[in-house]
C-alpha cells in the first residue's frame, strides 16, 4: 500500500487531534523509511523492515517512547496504531513476511493494479471522511479540504505510473 498509509495517519489524527500529523505520517510509513535506508546502505532486508515481528517491535518502541514523552497512554497508543497499521494495510495489497523463516502472507494485489487502485482510493476516502469530522465546522465546508483525498489519489496514480508505465 502507498497513500493508504498516509490516509490512515489522517484518520488517527482525526481520532486524536493533539498528536501531530507531522509525526503520524512518517510513523505510518516507518517500514518503508527503514526499507529505503537499507537500500541506501546496500543491505536491504525485508524481514528487518516489513515483517510482522519487526513492525510489532518498532510500533511498541515508538508507542512507548511517545507515550512517555507526551505522558499520555492514549497518545502512545495512537502512535503504536499508526506504525502497526502498516503491516495490516500492506497485508491487503501486498505479500508480507511474518518472521525470519516464517510464511509470507497477504492478498498480493500488487499484481492487480486496478484492484490496488480501487482499494487504496477507498481507504483514502473513508479515512478522509473520518478525519474531516475532527475539523472545525466551518473548515469542513472549505473546498481546500478536498485537496487531501484528491492529492493523495493523484500521488497514487503518478507513483503507479512511474513504477508500472504499462498500466496507463
Amino acid at each position: 500500500m502507498y497513500v493508504g498509509h498516509a490516509a490512515i495517519a489522517a484518520l488517527l489524527k482525526g481520532k486524536r487531534p493533539r498528536v501531530p500529523i507531522a509525526l503520524l505520517v512518517p510513523i505510518a510509513f516507518a517500514p518503508d523509511w527503514i526499507d529505503s535506508f537499507s537500500h541506501v546502505v546496500h543491505h536491504p532486508n525485508v524481514i528487518v523492515s516489513h515483517s510482522l515481528v519487526s513492525v510489532a517491535i518498532g510500533a511498541t518502541v515508538c508507542g512507548l517512547f511517545y507515550g512517555f514523552w507526551s505522558r499520555s497512554l492514549g497518545d502512545g497508543l495512537v502512535v503504536w496504531l499508526a506504525y502497526a497499521s502498516h503491516w495490516l494495510a500492506d497485508l491487503v495489497t501486498g505479500i508480507k513476511p511474518t518472521w525470519a523463516g516464517g510464511p509470507m502472507v497477504g492478498l498480493g494485489l500488487y499484481g492487480h493494479p486496478v484492484w490496488d487502485f480501487v482499494i487504496e482510493s477507498g481507504v483514502v476516502v473513508v479515512c478522509w471522511l473520518i478525519y474531516r469530522r475532527s475539523l472545525p465546522v466551518d473548515a469542513r465546508r472549505r473546498s481546500i479540504g478536498l485537496l487531501i483525498p484528491l492529492g493523495l489519489i493523484g500521488m497514487q496514480v503518478v507513483f503507479e505510473a512511474l513504477q508500472r508505465p504499462s498500466v496507463l
Binding site: 500500500m1 502507498y2 498516509a6 489522517a10 526499507d35 529505503s36 541506501v40 501486498g94 472545525p136 507513483f159
Partner: protein
Amino acid sequence: MMVGPPAGMQGFAARFIIGVALLGPWLLLVVLDRALRRTR
C-alpha cells in the same frame, strides 16, 4: 504497492523518487491540516 523505485532504476534517481514518494504525502497532509485547523 510498496514504496520503491521504478524497475531498473538505481542510484540517485531511484533515491530521489523514493524520497518524493515518502515526503509528498507528509507535506500535503501537514500543510492542509494546518490550513484547515487555523481559525479564520
